[in-house]
């Protein structure tokens, strides 16, 4: 795939989620700019892409459940709750910083 077909974005994991992603907290990722059906890449596609191509841990259910990010994971798009940005329908833009944060319960 040529570079022209991808969007450069930064992905970050926090709250222990990095354990599922080879203990690497930050990824500079080239995301294909169209999803499987030729639509512009959105966060739903990003989540599938991470699950299929980046995540090596077999426990996929600790990241994705029922086709979306599992309960207890907050998705932050450029330092804002994804609910403010359209949730998984948000279309990924060049340079976006998208963060997946696992809720902590210890105290």
């Amino acid at each position: 795939m040529s570079n022209d077909d991808t969007i450069p974005i930064t992905i970050e994991f926090s709250g222990g989620l990095e354990i599922l992603f080879s203990n690497q907290k930050k990824y500079n990722l080239p995301l294909p700019f169209k999803d499987e059906s030729g639509e512009p890449a959105n966060v739903a596609f990003l989540v599938r892409h991470l699950c299929d191509n980046v995540m090596e841990d077999p426990r996929k259910e600790l990241f994705v459940l029922d086709g979306t990010v599992r309960p207890g994971i907050l998705v932050l798009i450029n330092e804002a709750d994804w609910e403010l940005e359209g949730e998984d329908k948000y279309e990924v833009q060049k340079g976006d910083h998208i963060m997946f944060v696992s809720t902590l319960h210890g105290g």
Binding site: G16, L62, L74, E79, D81, L84, T103, H105, G106
Partner: protein, 297 residues
């Protein structure tokens, strides 16, 4: 009794002088602190520093809820306790330390585990609540109770090298009023799968990580309590993320507002005082059977 010419005692001017002279607190702010009744739920890694700084600042009344006893493995981070008090209840141990720091604060012990049928009666006489507990079950129960009783909630959590902090239900408008701040269920409508929940006993915790989060809870509580009622412009809801080995260590992110379909704080709320007290809200079942290891951070 005749009202005193001086709103504070002479020794209080001395003790709180360094905050009294600041415009952010001032005499009015100090009087608001003195009138305030704060409840700290969980006297572990978060609750210890949070309680220490609230008592230092001169809140009028501080309630402490916990049914655990002090263990040696707590002491690297639960700085109100001591080696000699291993085996004592955490509430009693904390009261010894807090009373010696500031005898002017009235301390109220609640040596029991918070349950749906005791939550409302435990919370109702307090003005503001700090969630310093360590399981999803208690976090949903505490948030629901705060929504029902219209109390602002300062919620923090920590694990390993990470911490999180939110001020919820701020302002604490009645359920259905969209001007109110989001509650814990707005942010996390569904509990995490039990197998994804890691306790500090299993995952570990670095003392200063949970310490920072606890002190920040005290700070947020003091900010809420001392604000002038006129200055009603509440900060937009946000989440502070802390990660001790990241650069930057702290991030502040914007949170959603109240969720239109929230089970607790929306016009369609199914969480009611009756549902809570009748036991029809089964938090343990809702969250799956995460077994607490009895070791609040």
């Amino acid at each position: 009794e005749e009202p005193s010419r001086w709103p504070l005692e002479k020794n209080e001017y001395k003790r709180y002088g360094r905050q009294l002279i600041m415009p952010e607190v001032g005499l009015q702010g100090q009087l608001r602190l003195k009138k305030a009744r704060i409840l700290v739920v969980g006297v572990g890694g978060l609750g210890c520093p949070a309680a220490a700084y609230l008592v230092g600042a001169g809140v009028g009344t501080l309630g402490l809820v916990d049914d655990d006893v002090v263990e040696e493995s707590n002491l690297h981070r639960q700085i109100l306790h001591s080696t000699a008090r291993v085996g004592m209840t955490k509430v009693q141990s904390a009261m010894v330390a807090l009373n010696s720091l500031n005898p002017n604060v009235k301390l109220l012990p609640h040596i029991s585990r918070l349950t749906p049928d005791t939550a409302i009666s435990t919370f109702k006489d307090y003005d503001l609540v700090l969630d310093c507990t360590d399981t999803p079950t208690s976090r949903y129960l505490i948030s629901d109770t705060c929504v029902l009783l219209r109390k602002t909630l300062v919620s923090a959590s920590a694990l390993r090298i990470d911490g999180q902090l939110m001020v919820l239900n701020n302002p604490p408008s009645p359920p259905g009023d969209t001007t109110g701040g989001p509650c814990y269920r707005c942010v996390f409508p569904k509990p995490p799968p039990p197998e994804s929940v890691v306790s500090c006993g299993d995952g570990g915790i670095l003392g200063p990580v949970v310490g920072v989060m606890g002190i920040l809870q005290a700070l947020e509580a003091i900010k809420v309590l001392t604000q002038t009622p006129a200055a009603s412009s509440v900060d937009p809801p946000s989440l502070i993320l802390f990660s001790a080995y990241s650069n930057p260590m702290f991030r502040s992110v914007r949170l959603r507002n109240r969720k239109a379909k929230c089970a607790a704080c929306s016009a369609h709320a199914t969480v009611t005082p009756e549902a809570l007290e009748s036991g029809s809200l089964d938090y343990v079942q809702f969250c799956g059977s995460v077994v607490s290891n009895n070791d609040a951070l």
